[in-house]
């Protein structure tokens, strides 16, 4: 697989190609991690654990981006201090690094926003479990419905 165009035209039996397997195992590992995070968001009721799951999901996305920029036998995209750039040295792709660097700091800022919301939810409802929150919400809804229907009945 010398060029990307070969890759696209590869017949299905190339899946058992050794180079293909080792070249894609990294992506599958990131997907495993991503699914662990997704499972935590979907299946765990505690809101703090949901936020941690979101963080895991986020980290796996970062890794997917960084792994796209990695080049075999490459090195970090920082030139020597005297700017004497050797054309033979392979530098990895710096662009994904830039995107993910800002994303990490934005990620912690938004995570703290989510945590602040959780604190407020706890103060308003007294719980941070999803199941209990749903029950409380439903009770509030039925109460409002009852009051509204009683009011409209009174009007009529």
């Amino acid at each position: 697989m010398a060029t990307p165009s070969d890759d696209h035209g590869a017949p299905p039996e190339a899946i058992f190609d050794w180079a293909f397997l080792t070249g894609h195992a990294e992506y599958w590992m990131f997907i495993t991690l991503m699914m662990a995070g997704l499972f935590m968001v979907v299946a765990r009721g505690n809101l703090v654990k949901k936020v941690v799951g979101l963080n895991i999901f986020q980290v796996s996305v970062f890794m997917l981006y960084i792994s796209i920029g990695k080049i075999t036998d490459g090195t970090a995209p920082i030139f020597p201090l005297n700017m004497d750039v050797d054309p033979d040295v392979i530098y990895s792709n710096p662009l994904p690094h830039v995107l993910m660097l800002t994303a990490i700091v934005v990620g912690i800022a938004t995570t703290s926003l989510a945590l602040a919301l959780i604190v407020r939810i706890r103060e308003a409802f007294g719980t941070i479990e999803e199941d209990e929150l749903l029950i409380l919400e439903r009770a509030i809804d039925t109460e409002e419905n009852r009051r509204y229907s009683a009011q409209s009945a009174g009007d009529a």
Partner: protein
Amino acid sequence: MTETILTLILFAMLVAVAFAIIQMRQLFAVVLLSSVFSLLTALLFVIMDAVDVAFTEAAVGAGISTVLMLGTIALTRKRSAERTRSDILPFFVVAVTGAALVYGTLDMPNFGDANAPANAYLRQDYLDRSVTEIDVPNVVTAILASYRGFDTLGETAVVFTAGIGVLLLLGGLAYRRAEDDEES
């Protein structure tokens, strides 16, 4: 080859930590494990040549996020409740999503391929131009602040907005306004 093996071992540890986080019910242990998770993440970033990203992850993950999560737990509760619903349906959803994503990777270029579309054109362009135009050794900083200056301005504004949001939610500003009203 060494890099691949190191990546695999670290990744196995990372997945083990993730599954342990899923199992834990003590929220405090979840926080501790998530700080270990970020340590391992930074190591993987170093291996994948993303030194700047590893730096950021190290600064954020080890100190601040641990402290903030502990602060949240101190204001809410320490243990998560027993889950009554079964995990089968979420597991099915996650498995299907994962299978779809794996199917999507089959068309991707190999890991570390220098001729991949993402690396073939833009990478060389940035590396060549930044030597003459910006003239700083760290290409990541050059791209961050100069070539993608608009993007970074936006990200800074997002961080600022998130900070304002936290202050509004947790009353840093509201308390002060109340005090000012009492004084006047």
